[in-house]
């Protein structure tokens, strides 16, 4: 009994309930006439899709800026990279070179994210104690101003340009024919040469986006390595106890800056991978609430506003995205108009989790009045 209680304490009630609910949904789906293979494929796909975006929370939380609601800043940087690479490929002409385009997307996005993250980090260093509120609104305004950028940019590529009027970019950009599905869609990878053919495959009807999963785990490993390094430990210490860290001659502000930049860069990389798996880039208002989904996922995984680990990310993304993907078809079978019910339940679950975490940690406020 006591061992049971200890286990519950370690894992936490919310995670146990959500985990059981997830298992229930997966078990229920074949009983309701859904193909289990499809359900598992969808869950794997969504897990790989959101992974790196959720991972972007870790450096932020560890360095002490709290939950980075402003990860949409990084997302905007990533989208700038992704669209620039498509436009460049169009201007260059010639045959499609999906791998080069993916590489250029990263090459453009990461420096932009570095600049954004640097400025954003300096801002957050000046607003210690209310980072979460400020970051939320920085993220919102970044997305709002990015709309102007999308609308005025003189693009020429047919996939980017707005179909009516021919000015600015369209809302949803298809990545078919460029790098969409390169690491995740078995149908796309089937035409690739050599080992690239195995970036995604099917086993008994379950499609496994092994390329994206490996990439996600590899980036997780890199962040894990960084957090184990001397610099990373200093970063975690800065988030844990500012006074202690400062007394050990570690510059807290520069560590926080590092964490913010890393978080923003991961956001940029994450959205490119997201687009790659999803097959579309969504511009304009789409990134507005993405930060909230990432925050909810990492919190479901067991993180708090002061502590987040790689395991939290991996488990949290699986549970959160798993529930979202499986609940939709299951509810649809159970209730008429189920798809709408699922849409309604989604904000209740994700925001409820965030509220719960905030109430547990007494807020992220370090400066007591």
């Amino acid at each position: 009994m006591s061992r049971m209680r200890l286990f519950m304490q370690r894992v936490g009630w919310p995670r146990v309930i959500i985990g059981l609910f997830f298992v229930l949904l997966v078990v229920a789906s074949p009983l309701l006439g859904l193909k289990l293979t499809d359900v598992v494929s969808d869950v794997l796909r969504r897990w790989a899709l959101f992974g790196i975006l959720v991972l972007a929370m870790v450096p932020g939380v560890q360095s002490g800026i709290g939950l980075n609601f402003g990860v949409s800043l990084g997302i905007v940087a990533g989208l700038i990279g992704a669209t620039t690479s498509i436009e460049l490929a169009y201007r260059m002409g010639g045959p499609a070179r999906p791998w080069t385009e993916l590489g250029i997307a990263f090459l453009v996005a990461i420096p932009v994210a570095l600049i954004f993250g640097w400025a954003y980090g300096h801002l957050l260093n000046r607003v210690k104690g209310s980072e979460m509120t400020v970051s939320t609104y920085v993220g919102f305004s970044a997305v709002a101003f990015s709309k102007i950028y999308w609308a005025v940019l003189p693009v020429k590529s047919g996939t980017l340009i707005f179909p009516y009027g021919g000015e600015g970019m369209r809302n949803t950009i298809s990545l078919e024919g460029t790098y969409g599905g390169l690491l995740s869609d078995p149908d796309v990878t089937a035409n690739q040469p050599g080992i690239l053919k195995w970036m995604a495959f099917r086993i008994g009807g379950v499609s496994i986006p092994i390329g994206t999963i490996l990439l996600f785990l590899f980036v997780c490993f890199l962040v894990w390595l960084f957090l184990r390094s001397k610099s990373g430990i200093a970063l975690s210490a800065a988030g844990e106890n500012e006074l202690f860290t400062r007394s050990n001659a570690i510059k807290v502000d520069s560590k926080r800056l590092q964490g913010t930049i890393l978080s923003t860069v991961l956001g940029a990389v994450g959205i490119i991978i997201y687009g790659q798996v999803y097959g579309f880039l969504q511009l304009y208002a789409a990134p507005l609430y993405m930060g909230f989904a990432c925050v909810a996922a990492v919190l479901i995984g067991g993180a708090t506003t002061r502590r987040a680990t790689i395991v939290n990310v991996i488990i949290g993304t699986l549970l959160f995205q798993g529930i979202l993907t499986t609940s939709l078809p299951v509810i649809q079978r159970l209730v008429p108009q189920g798809s709408r019910l699922s849409e309604v339940v989604r904000p209740i679950v994700s925001n409820g989790i965030i509220l719960y975490a905030l109430s547990k940690t007494k807020g992220g406020n370090q400066i007591e009045k």
Partner: protein, 499 residues
């Protein structure tokens, strides 16, 4: 002994003031500009946008007045949580949701006009009180993170709101008017037209009716006070009696044939509003000056009242200048909404001098000190949230009846964003917000809102850009104001460790 000390103090403070005034007027005005930088920046932006857009001032002024009547109440509902130290109340969205539930049932039950609004009011108010109580209790668990919690609370409540309107209404709770229900028989349609039932229900209330209501309320108050003072054997309450007499006279005036027509209107022309406002200001100042002349009080600033009289005179004089007259001649104010906004301004002001208001201010400044002086901090904070939520729900009622269409799933989403942005544009901060800032903010913010699309159209040949720009500005202004607030607080933190 005591009085001597007091005079000493006042001498010192007067000397201080003179020193500040005397040394450097340039520095004083620069300081003022620095303290109001957000407001000034926005004013410049608004004026620039008006000039660029080339819209006639006539149109701009009448549009701003409409928007002021629509949104003013909601913005003013934000002031009390700021006073109580809860910061900007992002969860007023929840009050707006309560109002929308009230509006829906008022329509569903077929009530129209003012009775319909009263039904909506009767449903929305207790619901908003209940929700405000819940939010306040929750905020007490997250002290220091109220703003982010309020924001997320609003999104959280959004889910339940949709659950109610999409599944419970028609599914569990029967709906009387089938025209409002979605095709499947469950859930409510996206938009509900208020034309013919609640549209302009409050805007069309006549001035004479308002006087009647005011007279009745004053009658009740006077009677109550008279009875209580008779019981306590105190002097007869003169003040309410005088007010009662005045309002009775005003209502009596409406029965005089020629003058009565003037009061039978539901819209006050702006010129009359300026005349009346100027007259009241002058009378008030003269009253104060006479009182002071008869019984001189300490710290009385004569110049202040003289300046007020002068300002009223200048404002009245301005209406005789042809371009100004042309601009405002067709503008008019809806009587009841503006009356309610003015009433809320007075409430916010009077509330400060009550015991509860003072307790809130203390709790807002330091919870530790408030606790030590016997104030039940948590209770005070919950009350502040309840008041704010209820006021926000009334604000949404005013907004919807003026707008005339009720977007079931979208009418409330931007309430918090725009109200808070408007308040911050006026120069308010997380810790201090006044009526004046709220009013300035609404005017500036909505000026930009009215003209931004046209300005962008002339500048870039693309009206959408103006839309994006004003959205970006409203988010940006909140980010900026929050950042500046946190920045200033960091300059003088409680605990400073040298690097």
């Amino acid at each position: 002994m005591k009085s001597k000390k007091k005079t000493n103090q006042s001498e010192v403070s007067q000397a201080d003031i003179q020193v500040i005034d005397g040394t450097n007027p340039l520095k004083a005005s620069l300081d003022w500009m620095f303290n109001n930088k957000v407001m000034l920046l926005f004013a410049a932006l608004s004026v620039g946008a008006v000039l660029v857009s080339g819209i006639s001032m006539n149109f701009v002024v009448s549009n701003i007045l409409t928007r002021f009547a629509r949104n003013g109440f909601t913005v003013l509902s934000l002031l009390i949580p700021v006073l109580a130290g809860l910061g900007l109340n992002f969860s007023i969205v929840i009050g707006a949701m309560a109002a929308q539930v009230g509006i829906f049932f008022a329509i569903d039950w077929g009530t129209i006009g003012v009775p319909g609004m009263l039904v909506a009011f009767a449903i929305a108010t207790p619901l908003a009180m209940l929700l405000g109580f819940g939010v306040g209790r929750l905020f007490n668990k997250m002290k220091g993170a109220e703003m982010i919690a309020g924001l997320i609370m609003a999104f959280f409540a959004e889910g339940f709101y949709q659950l109610f309107f999409l599944f419970l209404l028609g599914g569990v709770i029967p709906v009387k008017t089938p025209s409002n229900v979605l095709a499947g028989g469950v859930g409510i349609k996206n938009t509900i037209d208020l034309t013919g039932n609640l549209k302009y229900a409050l805007d069309l209330v006549k001035l004479a009716d308002l006087f009647l209501v005011a007279a009745v309320i004053l009658l009740v108050v006077t009677a109550f006070k008279a009875v209580s003072s008779l019981k306590k054997k105190e002097a007869f309450p003169l003040k309410p009696a005088v007010f009662l007499f005045l309002s009775a006279v005003l209502y009596g005036v409406t029965f005089i044939p020629g003058v009565g027509d003037y009061f039978k209107t539901d819209r006050l022309p702006m010129i009359s509003a300026i005349e009346i406002g100027g007259l009241i200001t002058v009378l008030y100042c003269l009253f104060k000056l006479i009182v002071n002349w008869r019984r001189p009080a300490e710290g009385f600033k004569k110049t202040r009242y003289l300046v007020m009289i002068l300002a009223a005179a200048v404002l009245y004089g301005l209406t005789y200048i042809p371009p100004v007259y042309d601009t405002i001649k067709s503008a008019s104010l809806a009587v009841l909404p503006f009356g309610l906004i003015a009433g809320l301004c007075v409430f916010n002001r009077v509330f400060l001098s009550t015991r509860l208001g003072q307790n809130m201010r203390t709790a807002g400044q330091s919870q530790v000190i408030a606790n030590a002086s016997g104030i039940h901090v948590d209770r005070v904070r919950v009350i502040a949230m309840m008041i704010s939520t209820v006021l926000a729900s009334w604000g949404q009622l005013i907004y919807l009846q003026n707008l005339g269409t009720f977007g079931t799933y979208g009418a409330h989403t931007n309430v918090g964003l725009y109200a808070i942005a408007a308040l911050l544009v006026g120069g308010a901060s997380v810790q201090k917000a006044t009526n004046k800032q709220a009013i300035t903010g609404i005017i500036l913010f909505h000026t930009l809102f009215v003209v931004a699309p046209d300005a962008a159209n002339t500048l870039f040949n693309n009206a959408m850009l103006g839309e994006y720009f004003r959205e970006g500005v409203s988010y940006g202004v909140i980010a900026l104001a929050l950042a500046m607030h946190a920045w200033q607080r960091k300059k003088k933190p409680a605990l400073e460790v040298p690097e």
